[in-house]
Amino acid sequence: MSPIIEISIPQLLLALLFILVAQTTSFVQKLGLNKDITIGTIRTVAQLFLMGYALTFIFGANNPWLTVGIFIVMVFSAIFIVRGRVKEKQIAYEVPTFLTMLSSYFLTALFVSWLVIGVEPWWEPRYFIPTAGMVIGNSMSALAISIERLFSQMRQQRDLVETKLCLGANYKEASRDIFKGAIKAGMIPSINAMMGVGLVFIPGMMSGQILAGADPLIAIRYQIVVMFMLVGSTAMSTIIVTLIIRRRCFGKSEELVVSAE
């Protein structure tokens, strides 16, 4: 395998031409996205450089508490992103969502790094942090979709849910279709990704490994693990969170407490 080709700063700046294309498109078509593209570009560079230095430090420190601490910070940041996407003020969903993300993502990352890849020790930051990062990044989007769908459908179908309650349904029966729809909405993107992987697109992780000089046959094994891991962690977290939040949409008397739109 050839060694990795380092990207110099001038080469990195050359990549800004892609941003220039996006900015020009936005300007010509009057999309109003120029400010967002600028902020996004600055944040991408700043956040990734920061992460690069942080990871260099963490890999060097080789401390389990630091690895777990970084993991908690990543999940904590993720819940803020989910909050930004789910416009819900009435039902408190943040704490159970955070705790579910923390426990399910930790278990997934632990399972993959320790048992599937066989890393010793299990917290080896070079494996644990990227694995956890992929789990958090993907499942966070799925969770946001599921939670948003659950709340919006509870509001839209409020009268129908109440009708079912009035006909003797318990809260689970009255919201069964909404619950299933919310979980499906969250899980479909990761299932679709399994359908298209290797045919329609080469995933980021595998591309990164190949660019870094890894054997493609080793890279695909990692990618297979990642694809399975993402489907599993997405299913686990969306089901647990949707179950908890669904209960919170109903009061003690199993009355729907989510108000109409």
Binding site: D159, L160, E162, T163, K164, L165, C166, L167, G168, A169, N170, E173, G251, K252, S253, E254, E255, L256
Partner: protein, 222 residues
């Protein structure tokens, strides 16, 4: 007649700090009674029905059904015995048959025998719905047809009490008369206890009828 429902000292407001809809409200409903509750919009008529079947929770006070506090009864069990039919009829996507059999798909209705097609067709006739078929889409019916279908669906599991919220609000005079005659028959022939909320000047033609009007959070009954 024995008391079936007792509302004791109920107080309720929709939000903390909002003006109360009820303050120390009490009402007794006897078995087989036909109670018509009238009053202007916003007087609390619908809220009263929603409180009885626990779709809203009172701030204080108690509701007794068959000598048991409703808070001691599983909500789904209570609602299968004290069934509320909302003002705007709601149908699930599917046929009329699917909608009529819906209550039997819930755990609460699973012990009960599901009426077969011929029984349902007979009931459709009795509900002036002889122009529809069991296989047609329920959501394509007119509002008046849906109103009748939703009442029919509510009584299939044989509740003790029917709580009807403005069952004729969107209907013309002819359809409204049909709905009222169905409700009256349910009371006189099947002995159902009926609480009906309406803002029309409906005068029931049944022996057990009592008319009450909401004024300032209190009911004045004749």
């Amino acid at each position: 007649m024995t008391k079936l429902l007792e509302l004791r000292d109920l107080s309720f407001s929709y939000d903390k700090g909002a003006p109360p809809v009820f303050e120390h409200f009490s009402l007794d409903v006897r078995k087989g009674e036909f109670l018509v509750i009238k009053g202007p919009s916003g007087s609390g008529k619908s809220t009263l029905l929603r409180l009885i079947c626990r779709l809203n929770t009172p701030r204080s006070g108690s509701i007794i059904f068959k000598e048991r506090d409703v808070s001691e009864i599983t909500p789904s069990e209570l609602r299968s015995k004290v069934t509320y039919v909302p003002q705007i009829p709601q149908m699930i996507d599917g046929s009329i048959r699917d909608n009529l059999q819906l209550p039997f798909s819930f755990a609460q209705g699973q012990g009960k025998s599901v009426p077969d097609d011929s029984a349902l067709e007979q009931m459709l006739d009795a509900f002036y719905l002889n122009d529809v078929t069991l296989g047609q889409s329920a959501n394509k019916l007119s509002v008046g047809q849906k109103q009748r279908l939703s009442i029919m669906r509510a009584i299939l599991t044989e509740p003790d009490v029917l709580l009807l919220d403005e069952p004729t609000s969107a209907l013309d005079a002819e359809s409204a008369a049909m709905v009222f005659s169905i409700i009256e028959r349910l009371n006189t022939e099947e002995g159902k206890t009926v609480l009906i909320v309406t803002h029309s000047d409906y005068q029931p033609d049944v022996p057990q009828a009592r008319s009450c009007t909401f004024r300032n959070g209190n009911l004045e009954c004749s």
